[in-house]
Symmetry: C2
Subunit: 336 residues, 2 copies
């Protein structure tokens, strides 16, 4: 008998999620049937979308997110013990799967960890996982950047933003990032090769942007929404493209009382801008394509995949709220 | 010697344009040279974009807009006396052109009035002119509506909105319009065949929309911007498309202090919406394609092109501010 533990969300969050919005529940798992595997989580992800989906998910619910797990017991010859898998089972340690049963339920499906060529398996929930696919497709497919263009990224030190900026550099763009601390700004400029980065909390955003992008902005990858997005859109060039990945600035707000920001329609009309929101699951079938390229870039040193690691299953709540508060540079992940 | 009169804009408007922001200037026109024509305006257009471009145009400037004029004197065999032409010469009565000189300057070029098959030449600045092309391309090319989809139009009783709604009906869509008076609502529902119309000044917009579009909104044609747009975008279906044509709600505001509205990024992300602004000159070369179809629809009774006619060159200012105040149903035009 294996005992599994999981986090159940009992309440809809009000503002910053509270520790007692969650409950850790134990359950005994049954013996494996033919075709099934037992997996143990090694790396569990905490991401902004967990906050955003809270209001949209009926409670109680098991806290979903991506996790990398290793097969510890197997009655499925395609998944021998030691195989690593990625699933959306989220904040739980042990899970039984039957990989041969096909399902459209994102939370019940899994895939084998891509070949990481010796890189840390933790990347399976980061640069070579959902956040990597988000950066890759959300930027390349929606912004369609061209060499020489100017790209602005907000949430630039986050799991997705830091990859977007580096992909933009690989594609020959000029890259400007906004992040929430001077340390992050240093990291973006000195280590990740951003042409310019700013601490949005301390600079005059419009003035900084005009100086850093004197020829205007062609592509905007928007992780945050709100007033900074209105300002950036006002500085875009004709036919600029904005990819809207998230709006973390509003995730802790009451969804029935979203904040206001300067209207963007005049910028959209006069510069003929295209602004498109996306969910990465749109490109589900194509994730392996992104993963192969991302692994190559990391192995060749063109892309740095920094992680902000918290240790311990019991620390998931702290890692989550820390990430929401912007304490991480790079991908926030929990080592179980 | 012919004396021409034109309106010169002397000031950048503050709020609603004032009569003395304009000056009527007379000038004597020289005798025609070979290749030139003298034309006399018959119909002059007043449109929201004249207000919007004021802050973006160095003063003083001649008030541009579209006009239909007739050739009264000709030294160009391709343009005999009586030929009708459409130009962007705006608020002036007599003008000399040399049509053989090609120019990229929109304000100096002209084209022959399309064959209207007996319809009023005034349509050359309306349903079979720039506003018609705006409705046709801005809706069909950007919203890409499919039969059975639900379309929402704001500024629905205006020159562009009223045509967009009717094109949407022709394409088999369910059409909901927002306009600014009960009379306009009546006209949209009873005469133009909108499935539902609302007076945005008196109804609960969100509630009305949920009732009229229980299956959500697929396409949004946005003439107004501001809070109503945030509300409509919040009711859109996955992969909805919004075409942003204008933001008249903000045109009388100080451009350095645009109003705020509820942020739209969460709607964009979770519904994967695409929002695109446009200027109709993008499709310059294709206008004749729209004009041919629009004439057919009008001749066959599928599309009604109502005009709100003001008489007299001296009334251009009143027609303009009346249009900005929403006094018109259909295309506001001045008969010279």
């Amino acid at each position: 008998m294996v005992k599994a533990r999981k986090y159940v969300v009992k309440k809809h969050f009000q503002g910053v999620p509270k520790r007692d919005d969650f409950e850790i529940v134990e359950q005994e798992l049954p013996p494996l049937k033919d075709g099934e595997i037992l997996v143990k989580a090694e790396w569990i992800s905490v991401d902004p979308y967990l906050r955003a989906y809270n209001a949209r998910t009926p409670i109680p619910y098991d806290q979903f997110s991506y996790q990398v797990a290793v097969v510890t017991e197997s009655k499925n010859p395609d998944y021998p013990v030691g195989t690593r898998v990625v699933s959306h089972k989220g904040w739980r340690d042990y899970t039984i799967f039957n990989p041969t049963v096909k399902t459209d339920d994102k939370n019940a499906s899994l895939y084998k960890l891509p070949d990481l060529h010796g890189l840390s398996p933790s990347l399976g929930v980061g640069a070579v996982g959902m956040p990597g696919a988000t950066a890759y497709f959300g930027f390349l497919e929606i912004c369609k950047p061209k060499a020489g263009e100017t790209v602005v990224v907000t949430g630039a030190a986050g799991a997705v933003g830091s990859i977007v900026g580096q992909i933009a550099k690989i594609k020959g763009c000029r890259v400007i990032g906004f992040a929430g601390s001077d340390d992050k700004v240093q990291w973006l400029e000195k280590e990740l090769g951003f042409d310019k980065a700013f601490n949005y909390k301390t600079v005059d955003i419009l003035k900084s942007l005009k100086e850093a992008a004197p020829k205007g902005v062609d592509c905007y990858f928007d992780n945050v929404g709100g007033e900074i997005s209105s300002l950036i859109l006002s500085q875009m060039n004709d036919y600029g493209r904005a990819s809207v990945c998230g709006s973390i600035s509003a995730y802790n707000e009451d969804p029935s009382k979203m904040p206001k920001a300067t209207i963007i329609q005049p910028s959209l009309v006069f510069k003929q801008l295209k602004v498109e929101g996306f969910l990465v699951w749109r490109w589900d079938g194509r994730w392996p394509e992104a993963f192969a390229e991302l692994v190559n870039w990391i192995k060749s040193g063109k892309l740095k995949a920094r992680e902000h690691v918290t240790e311990g299953f019991d620390k998931l709540y702290d890692a989550f709220t820390g990430m929401l508060a912007g304490e991480n540079s790079g991908k926030a992940v929990v080592k179980v």
